[in-house]
């Protein structure tokens, strides 16, 4: 792999870096890192007191990689599916990616095999897959109360 072209020169002037070829598929045109604010919501109702946490992101080209560690929140008042809002860039399509770690205040099926973050246009959901039936999948649900912990990382594509 080789750096094949740099378009522009000087700080703030380079717009494209081409690596391993000269086409658009070889172009790195953006890099940014920063923070975003994750807010815990529920499909049937949000926590009475807003549950938010600062996360971090890195954008490399069109890929956005996000992490957030939500610790010891009180989700009293929340109902329905556990969701997060606040991703830093607009997703260009829904994407299942990443992983998560859970603690109290969520309801899982007893036969859940895995859980995957699912990034949509307006929120991040967490889908569980049942290992006993091939048809069962659905979002994890709130068991609202204190001690809500959710550590997650996920990635998605953006056109911005």
């Amino acid at each position: 792999m080789a750096l094949t072209q740099v378009i522009g020169s000087g700080v703030g002037q380079v717009t494209d870096i081409k690596i391993g070829g000269s086409g658009s598929a070889n172009t790195l045109d953006d890099y940014e890192e920063g923070s975003w604010t994750a807010t815990v919501t529920g499909s049937g109702g949000n926590p009475s007191t807003a549950a938010t946490e600062s996360g971090s992101y890195v954008k490399i080209g069109r890929i956005v990689y996000c992490t957030v560690t939500i610790s010891n929140k009180d989700t009293t008042g929340a109902s329905g599916a556990v969701r997060l809002t606040g991703v830093p860039f607009t997703p260009n399509k829904s994407t299942a990616s990443g992983n998560l770690m859970l603690y109290y205040a969520k309801s899982l099926n007893s036969t859940t095999a895995n859980i995957t973050p699912y990034v949509t246009a307006s929120y991040v959901a967490f889908y569980q897959t049942d290992y006993q039936t091939s048809t069962a999948w659905g979002e994890i649900s709130h068991a609202a109360g204190a001690n809500f912990y959710l550590y997650t990382s996920f990635w998605y594509e953006t056109d911005s």
Partner: protein, 84 residues
């Protein structure tokens, strides 16, 4: 030596079919007037969002691009996403 910290919305973009407004807020630290640090925080204002806490500039952009037709189209899009 003086240190100052300011925040500014240094990038506001209108993205995609549903005109989501993407806002980048920069926190800038200067020493004696010379920038020594710039960090970013981002959020998105979707067509169905409450914009009352947004800056006047962002509210103005949202009010322009988030027409009722866009809001309706976005609502329909969200409904289509309810299950994968």
């Amino acid at each position: 030596m003086s240190l100052t910290e300011t925040t500014e919305e240094d990038k506001i973009e209108v993205i995609g079919e549903y005109k989501c407004v993407q806002v980048r807020t920069a926190t800038v630290i200067k020493r004696d007037g010379v920038e020594i640090s710039r960090s970013f925080h981002r959020h998105i204002v979707a067509p169905n969002a409450d914009i009352s806490d947004e800056s006047a500039e962002v509210q103005s952009i949202c009010n322009t691009v988030h027409t009722q037709a866009i809001k309706d189209a976005y609502a329909a899009h969200l409904k289509s996403l309810e299950t994968p």
